[in-house]
């Protein structure tokens, strides 16, 4: 871990903290919520050993990167802008891309609007969902799962932060990372995160040190930066109208754990396995469903995920 270099790169008007190691073709790793570059710690080391330049930023709003104050600064266009600037700074013309959770959404959009900068994509957890011209995404989730659905509960600035603040940050991290409940997470206001039972003991793949690392960063930074991505979802929808109906024309491998809440959203399994995803991502080459694996697959099964990434990218 000491071999991982940490630098600060100025891009798109902000400073991004970037962890990187290795030399060779560049792979850019994009974390999700509530996560950090650290999510990819095992992949960074392994893929560097396999001859790649592995790069993992804290995305805007997270960790040691800048957090612009307004949620309007967290559209997918802003974040892709950060990453294009990052690649320019690092002298990388075309990159291998790996995404997870919100990082997967950003990765889909980077491939959509700047396919010229991406060689191939291994995306995890979150499928590409075509834009529904009549319904904004947050409204769609509310209609589907109700106003207690976590995405809806994350909307009001400050509200969920207050709830989080009443829970020990380590417990909160533990709860997020180790949940194996595939059902849509709904947190009634009366209960809140504070009202949830204590999480179980840590699984083998997440140590006390790991949890402490996350807890320290999120205690320092807060969760607002990360929550702003959710708060900018409807705005992103509005601003990405020019690409409605456009296919993603980058070679893709998609991986998801079968206990992931995203895989268990009604309709998603059919969408993935019966041609829906492929219609929008015509160069989707492989789909991997990891049995018995939850949301944070790159941490739960790091070697397998590394192998999947390596075997795919070595084709190019």
């Amino acid at each position: 871990m000491e071999k991982i270099e940490h630098t600060t790169i100025s891009t798109n008007g902000i400073n991004l903290h970037v962890a990187s190691i290795g030399s060779g073709p560049a792979i850019l790793f994009l974390h999700g919520f509530p996560d950090l570059w650290y999510s990819w710690r095992r992949q960074l080391l392994s893929l560097a050993d396999l001859g790649y330049r592995a790069i993992a930023p804290d995305l805007r709003g997270y960790g040691d990167s800048d957090s612009p104050p307004s949620h309007e600064s967290y559209t997918v266009l802003h974040v892709v802008g950060d990453l294009v600037g990052l690649l320019d700074s690092l002298g990388v013309d075309r990159v291998f891309l790996v995404g997870h959770d919100w990082g997967a959404i950003v990765a889909w959009w980077m491939c959509m609007i700047r396919p010229d900068r991406v060689k191939a994509l291994v995306n995890t957890s979150v499928v590409f969902n075509p834009r529904n011209p009549s319904v904004k995404p947050v409204d769609a989730f509310k209609a589907l799962f109700g106003e207690d659905y976590y995405i809806c509960r994350f909307q009001e600035p400050g509200e969920i932060e207050e709830d989080f603040a009443q829970v020990d940050t380590k417990k909160l991290i533990n709860r997020f990372f180790t949940s194996r409940n595939p059902r849509p997470p709904c947190i009634p206001k009366s209960l809140g995160f504070r009202g949830l039972p204590d999480p179980p003991a840590l699984p083998a793949w997440l140590t006390e040190e790991d949890v402490s690392f996350y807890a320290e960063k999120f205690s320092q930074k807060g969760f607002t930066g990360g929550l702003n991505y959710y708060r900018a979802m409807n705005l992103s929808w509005e601003l990405t109208a020019p690409w409605a109906g456009l296919q993603i024309k980058v070679p893709v491998k998609f991986i998801v754990g079968d206990l992931d809440i995203t895989y268990n959203i009604p309709g998603t399994k059919e969408y993935i396995h019966e041609g829906g995803l492929k219609k929008h991502v015509p160069f989707l080459q492989e789909v991997v469903v990891m049995e018995g694996v939850g949301h944070f697959l790159q941490q739960e099964k790091p070697d397998e995920v590394t192998d999947h990434i390596y075997s795919f990218f070595s084709k190019f």
Partner: protein, 327 residues
Amino acid sequence: MTSEVREKKIKTNGIWLNVAEKGDEGEPLVLLLHGFPETWFSWRHQIDFLSSHGYHVVAPDLRGYADSDSPPTHESYTVSHLVADVIGLLDHYGTAQAFVAGHDWGAIIGWSLCLFRPDRVKGFVSLSVPYSPRDPNLKPSDLFKSFGDGLYITQFQEPGRAEAAFAKHDCLTVMKKFLLTTRSDFWVAPPNTEIIDDLEVPSTLPDWITEEEIQVYADKFQKSGFTGPLNYYRAMDLKLQELEILAPWQGYKIVIPTKFIAGDKDIGNEGANGTIKYVKGEMFKSIVPNLEVVVIEDGHHFIQQEKSERVSQEILSFFNKLRNITE
């Protein structure tokens, strides 16, 4: 002359646009995008000319104008919205790739189309307004501030201000002040003066436009007002339109074949650092490498009306060349 132009309403990107059309639907599609403060009518000469030379010509009233919808808030007038409107039109016609020409704000939309959806553009002609890549270190609002409060863009920001200033004149006069301007500065009014009061109406009409033609515009704006058009400028003030949404295209080269046409007396061509110098310069060539530049002598801002035959020929020859058709 424009009697065979068909007008119809098309649903696109959640709104209805009024679209003027002429020519054989089987022919390649040319999309013409007007500027401020205009309508599809600004393209009347090109609509006739191009449709009689083998093109299916489509010219919308843009969002906020004339017989098209005008969403109420300026947040709905970013280049994202405007480009999505255009994509919706192309989808309606089933056009995979279009020839596009844009003037003024229509040119800004066209350049943005080249960034966002190069897959839908065969070739692009820009009249008057060049591509301005985003400079992350220079916000548009800071640049405009350097011109002072008299800059028309600054005066157009505050909701209601320009509308009230325009309303002191009848619509015909307002249109004459814009269409007939021969100013080539960046339209900065003296202190305590509204730009509409500073623009002058010449005592006689030039030979390229008639009173009846100006009345066509006046009638449309009388009905639809100027707020929709002004919202394009008000969306520039937003954080979003401070070009933050263009960040993904930082350093992007527009390699689509493009042609830039402007009058040597257009707005912004006064002085050593004018638009034409910028367009002919090394920096511009590095980001728009596949570019032709045509400067029309004695041409002013509303060039496709003032020098209609020349502009029509230049557009036709450019599109024909891309189709490997030589005259």
